[in-house]
Symmetry: C3
Subunit: 453 residues, 3 copies
C-alpha cells in the first residue's frame, strides 16, 4: 500500500497503458454490434445492436456489483476458487466522506470503489477487466440472434457475469488454482472466448434453430455484408488493443511483450485470412465467401489470444492459420449437425479458443522478462506438463460454462421465456421490440402466411 | 519558460496523454455525424454529415484564428473576462525564421503558433481545446437538421466559436472569474454541452419546426436506426477519451483521476442506459425505443461530464440515471411544447448539462490530489457555497448562450438566410445541395404535390 | 545492444507511442475500405472491402517475409540501395529455443523475428512500418475498383511490397542514399503516397476505363455517400496518428514535434476542406460536391504529410489549401484526359504527394530538436539545395513506381489476367466473386442486354 515514488511512477505508466488499451477494447463493442447487425436479416439488424449495448449496460453493472469482487477481490476470505474482497469492500464504512454515506453503505459495500491513494490502480484494473467481461457476454449475443426476447437477453447479461467472473479468478488472480498450477492465458482465450463460445453453443441448443433455417442448407443471406465487414475491421484493430493491453503495462519488460503481442496478433490474422480465402476458393466453387473471410480472421485472432505475448511472429502465423481452419470447418460442421448459430459464435470463439489454450502448451516457453509463463511448452522441450495444465484449464472452462449457462438459461426460460413467438420472429424484432423498420421491406413471404391465418 | 529536465519529462508525459485523448475525441465527430445522419430522414443523411465536417473545417479555423486567443491567450491584457495573448501573439515578429515571415506577420499574429521551446505544450493544449471547441459546434448541427442552408450553417460554425471561447476562459483559465470563484467543470459540461444545448434551443426556435412535423405527435421514423446506434457507440467510447483526457495529463495524481473518470463515466452510461430502457418499457407500451436508449445514454454521459474525475463509481451511476431521466422526459416535453429538435440536442446536451454542473455542487469534494475542486459539495459537508457557484455558472452560460446565439443566428438569417425554401426542404438537402440521392427513394408523397403545382 | 537503464526507459516510452500510433493507423484500413465502398456502385461495394482486407493479409505477409528486410534490414550487406539484414536474419540459428526450430530455420531466416533483448524495439518499428506498407497498397485498390479480378489483386498486394520497400529504405534508413543527401519525408509522402498514387495511375491505364464510363462526362453516382463520408472521417482522425506517430517517439524533443504535427495536420485539413467547398460552390453550379469535399480534405492531408512535424500551423493551412486545389483540379483533369480512376487515387495521393515532397524544400527548416531536417528550405533562406534533393526524390519515386508497377501489373495480367470479363463487370463483383447481393437491385439496365443475348 505504501508505494515509493518509483513505484508510483511505474503504476502511473502501466495504468495509462491499461486505460488506453481499455478504450480501444471498448470500440470492439461497435465491431461486434456491426458484424452481427450486418450478418443477420435486416428485420433484426437494429435489435442486435441494442443487445450489444445491453452487454455493456447490464453486464457492466453486474461486473461492477459483484463480478470484480468474485474475480479479483482482496480479503482474508479470498481463496483458490473466488476472490471475495471488493465484494465486501469496506470503503463506505472506513472512508466515507459525506454525512450521507452511511445511508448508502449497505449498498456501497458491494460496489467497486477505492480511496484516493489506491484508486489509480484499482480503477484502471477494474475498467480493463470490465472491458473483458462485457466482451465475453457480447460473444453470446450473436448465437442468440433473431429469436431471443430482449428482456431475457438483458437478464442473461447480468447473470452471465457469474459465468465469467469465477474462471477469470482461477486463471488470472494470484490466488486462483489454475494460476498456481502454471496455467497461461495472456489475452483471455479461456475466461473470455471459451466461456463465450460454450455459452453460445448451449444457448443455441436451448433456443433451437430459427424458423425455417433447415429448410435449406445454405445460410440465409447476410443483411449487409458491407456492415459485417466493417464490423470485422473494427474488431481486427480492437484486438490489437486487447492483446497488447493484456501485458498489463509497459514498464520493465512489459513493453517488449506488448510489441511482440502486436506482431504475433497481426501475423495470426494474416495466416487466418489467407487460409480462409484459400479454403473458400477451393470448397466454394471458386467464390470468396464473406463468412469464411470474417470467421477465418476472427478465428485466427482468437487462436493467438492465449499466447500472444510469447509467440514468435511465425508461430502467430501458424497458430492463426490453424485457428482459421478450425473456425471455417467448424462452421460447416455446425450446419451438418443442424445447430443454428447465426453468426458462428461457437466455431469462432469456442473451437478456436480451445486451440488457443492448447497452443500455449505447445509453443509456450518460460518468460524471462515478466514470468508470464513459468514452464516450457511441448515444442520448447518442456514436455507435457504445461500442455496438461492448459488442457485441464480448457476442460474445466468447458464444464463450468456448460453447467452454468444451462442452469441460467433454463432459469431465464422458465421465468421470462427465452424465445419470441413465431409471429414475432417472422415479423422481426426491429418492428416488434423497437417499432422501427417497415414490414414490406424486410419480411419474408412466409410472414403473410403466418399472420394471414 | 526555462524548464528543468524533470519538468520537461512531466510535460512530455502529460502532453502525450492529452494528444492521445484528443485523437479519441476527434473520433466523436464521426459519432455525431453518424448518429445525426441515421436519425434524420434519408433525404438529408448526406447533408448532415457534411455539416459535421464543416464543424471541424470552419469551427476549427475560427478557433485557431481567435478562439484560443480569447480562451487561453496569455498577455498582460488577459483578464477575468477573456484571454488576449495568442490573439496578439508576437511569434512572427519575434521568432520569424524566413525572409518572408514579415509578409505574413499581419496575419501571423492572430494565429496560434509557438516557438520550439514552448510549442510542445502550447500545441498539445491548443489541439485538445480545439477538439472541445469543434464538439460544442457539432452539437448544434442536430437541432438545425433538415431545414438549414449549408452556407448559413458554415457561417454559424465560424461565429459559434465566439459563443464558446469566452465561457471556456471563465471556467478553465486561471484568470477566469468563474474559475477564481471555485467553479468546477472537469469535462466541459458548461462550456461545451450547456452552450451547445442552449444554442440548439435558440436555433430551433428561430428556424421553426420542419414542414409538417406537428401534423402528428410521433417523431418521423429514423432514416437508419443502425447508423444512429453505431454513432452512439462511437460517442460512448469517445466520451471516455473526452472525460479521461480532461485531467490534462497523467503525472502526479492525474493518472488516478483519469482512472476514476473512466470508471465514473462508464457507470454513468450504465445507469443512464438502464433508466432509459425501463422508462421506454413502461411508457412506450413495452417497446424499447431507440431514441430513448440513445438519448438516455448520451444524457447520462453529459450528466457525469462535469464531475467525472471526482465522482465515485456509484455517484456516477446515480448522476447518469438522473441525466438519462431528464433527457428522456425532456424530449417528451419538447414534443408537448411543439419545439422541433430533430435529434434531441437540447434535452440531451442542455438539460443534462445543467444537471451536470449542479451535480458538482452536490457530490463534489475537495480534491487533495490536484486541486480540481477547492470546495466540498452539499453532500460532502461543504454547504451551499459550491452549489451556488455552480448555479451561477449555469445561469451565466445560459444567459450568454441565449443572447449570443440569438444575435448571431438572427444576423446570419438577415444576411444569408437560415432556412431553405419549402420546395428544397421537401426534396431534401442531399439532392438540392449535393446532387446525390434519388427523388423517388426519399421524398414523401407530399413532394409531388408541392412541386407538381 | 547493451542498453543502459535510461536507454531502456526511453525505448519503452518511444515504443509505446509508436505502437499506439500504429493501432490508430490500422483503423485507416476501415476508413479506406468504407470510403471506396461508398464511392463505387453498390454492385461492387462488398468486393472493395475484401480488397482492403487483402491489403493487410497479403501485403502484410509480404512485408513480414521480405519487405522489412529490404527496407530496414541490418547486416554487413545492407547498402544505400536496400537493407539486407532481417532478410537473412539468423534468429533461428542463433537463438532457437526449441528442438524443432532447426526444421523451420530455412523458412525462419526470411521472417522478421528478434530475440527478447531486442524485440521491443524491432517489433515496434516493424509493426509501425507494416502499417505504412499496407496503407501504400490500399491506396491502389481504389484505382483498380469495379473491374479487377480479386485473385489478380491479391497477387498485386504481395508484389507491390517490392515497390514500396526499396524507396522506404532510400528515404528513411540511415544508410539510404536519399536520406544521406538530406531528403526529408516525415510521414511518408514519397514512399507511401507518391508510390501509391503512381501505381494507381499505371494500374488504371493498364486496366482501361470501366465499361461505359466515358459515355457521359459526369461520374457515376456514389453507391453510398454516407459511407464514403464516414470513411473520410475515419481517415481524417487516423491521419493524426499517422503523422504524429511519424516522430517515432515522444522522448527528447519528439513529443514537441508530435504536437506540432497534430496541429499542422488539422490546419491542413481545414485549409483543404474550405478550398474544396469554395471550388465546388464556384464551379459546380453552387452545389457542394461530396467528391470535392472528400478529395480536398484527403489531398490536403497528403500535402502536409511530408513536412508535418516541421510546419507551423499557418504553413499547414497553406500547404493543405494547395493540396486540395491540386486534388480537385487534378480529378477534373483525369476526366478531361479520359483516365478512369474511380475514387481519384492519382490526384489525391499522386499529385498531392509531389506537392508534399516539394513543400518540404520550400517551407522546411533545420530541426534543432531531433535533426529531422539538416537543411533549410527555400523560404527559410536555405536556397535551392533542399528543394533540389526533394525534387530528386520525387522524380526517383515516380520513375521507380512507374517502371516497377508496369512490370508487375503486366506480369500479373499475363499470368492471371487483371480484368474481369464484361459480363462479370456488368453483373458486379459482389455477386460474381462473393455470391452476395441481388441482381435486380444493383445492375444497370444494360446488364439484361449484355446477358440476354
Amino acid at each position: 500500500a505504501a508505494a515509493t515514488a518509483a513505484d508510483e511512477n511505474q503504476y502511473s505508466d502501466d495504468a495509462t497503458w491499461i486505460l488506453t488499451s481499455a478504450f480501444i477494447i471498448f470500440t470492439m463493442q461497435s465491431g461486434f454490434g456491426l458484424l452481427e447487425s450486418g450478418t443477420v436479416s435486416p428485420k433484426n439488424e437494429v435489435n442486435i445492436m441494442v443487445k450489444n449495448a445491453s452487454d455493456v449496460l447490464y453486464g457492466g453493472l453486474a461486473y461492477w456489483m459483484f463480478g470484480y469482487a468474485f474475480s479479483f477481490g482482496e480479503s482474508p476470505w479470498s481463496n483458490a476458487f473466488c476472490g471475495l474482497g471488493q465484494f465486501f469492500y469496506t470503503y463506505a464504512f472506513s472512508f466515507g466522506e459525506s454525512p450521507w454515506s452511511n445511508a448508502f453503505c449497505g449498498l456501497g459495500q458491494f460496489f467497486v470503489d477505492a480511496e484516493e491513494a489506491k484508486m489509480g490502480w484499482v480503477f484502471s484494473k477494474f475498467f480493463f477487466q470490465m472491458s473483458f467481461a462485457t466482451t465475453a457476454t457480447t460473444i453470446v449475443s450473436g448465437a442468440m440472434a433473431e429469436r431471443t426476447k430482449l428482456q431475457a437477453y438483458m437478464a442473461f447479461c447480468v447473470l452471465n457475469t457469474l459465468v465469467f467472473c469465477f474462471p477469470s479468478h482461477w486463471a488470472w488472480d494470484s490466488k486462483g488454482w489454475l494460476n498456481k498450477l502454471g496455467y497461461v492465458d495472456v489475452g483471455g482465450a479461456g475466461p473470455v472466448h471459451l466461456l463465450g463460445g460454450v455459452c453460445s453453443l448451449v444457448a443455441t441448443l436451448i433456443l433451437g434453430p430459427r424458423h425455417g433455417r433447415w429448410d435449406r442448407d445454405e445460410a440465409p443471406p447476410m443483411g449487409s455484408p458491407t456492415n459485417a465487414l466493417l464490423g470485422m475491421f473494427m474488431l481486427w484493430w480492437g484486438w490489437l488493443g486487447f492483446n497488447c493491453g493484456s501485458t498489463f503495462g509497459i514498464t520493465g519488460g512489459k513493453w517488449k511483450l506488448a510489441a511482440r503481442s502486436a506482431v504475433s496478433t497481426i501475423t495470426a490474422s494474416m495466416g487466418g485470412g489467407i487460409v480462409a480465402v484459400v479454403l473458400s476458393y477451393v470448397t466454394k466453387n471458386q467464390k470468396f465467401d464473406i463468412s469464411y473471410l470474417i470467421n477465418g480472421i476472427l478465428g485466427a485472432l482468437v487462436g493467438v489470444t492465449g499466447i500472444c505475448a510469447l509467440a514468435h511472429p511465425w508461430e502467430g502465423l501458424v497458430i492463426g492459420a490453424v485457428g482459421s481452419f478450425l473456425s471455417c470447418v467448424g462452421t460447416e460442421m455446425m450446419v451438418k449437425l443442424r445447430i443454428d448459430d447465426p453468426v458462428g459464435c461457437f466455431p469462432v470463439h469456442g473451437l478456436c479458443s480451445v486451440w488457443a489454450i492448447l497452443a500455449v502448451g505447445i509453443f509456450g516457453h518460460v518468460d524471462a522478462l515478466e514470468g508470464i509463463s513459468r514452464y516450457d511448452g511441448l515444442l520448447k522441450g518442456g514436455g507435457f506438463y504445461l500442455l496438461g495444465v492448459q488442457a485441464l484449464g480448457a476442460v474445466t472452462f468447458i464444464s463450468w460454462a456448460c453447467a452454468m449457462s444451462f442452469i441460467l438459461l433454463k432459469g431465464i426460460d422458465k421465468i421470462i421465456g427465452l424465445r419470441v413467438s413465431l409471429e414475432e420472429e417472422l415479423i422481426g424484432a426491429d418492428i416488434c421490440e423497437h417499432g422501427v423498420g417497415s414490414i414490406d421491406d424486410n419480411s419474408p413471404p412466409e410472414f403473410n402466411e403466418a399472420t394471414g391465418k
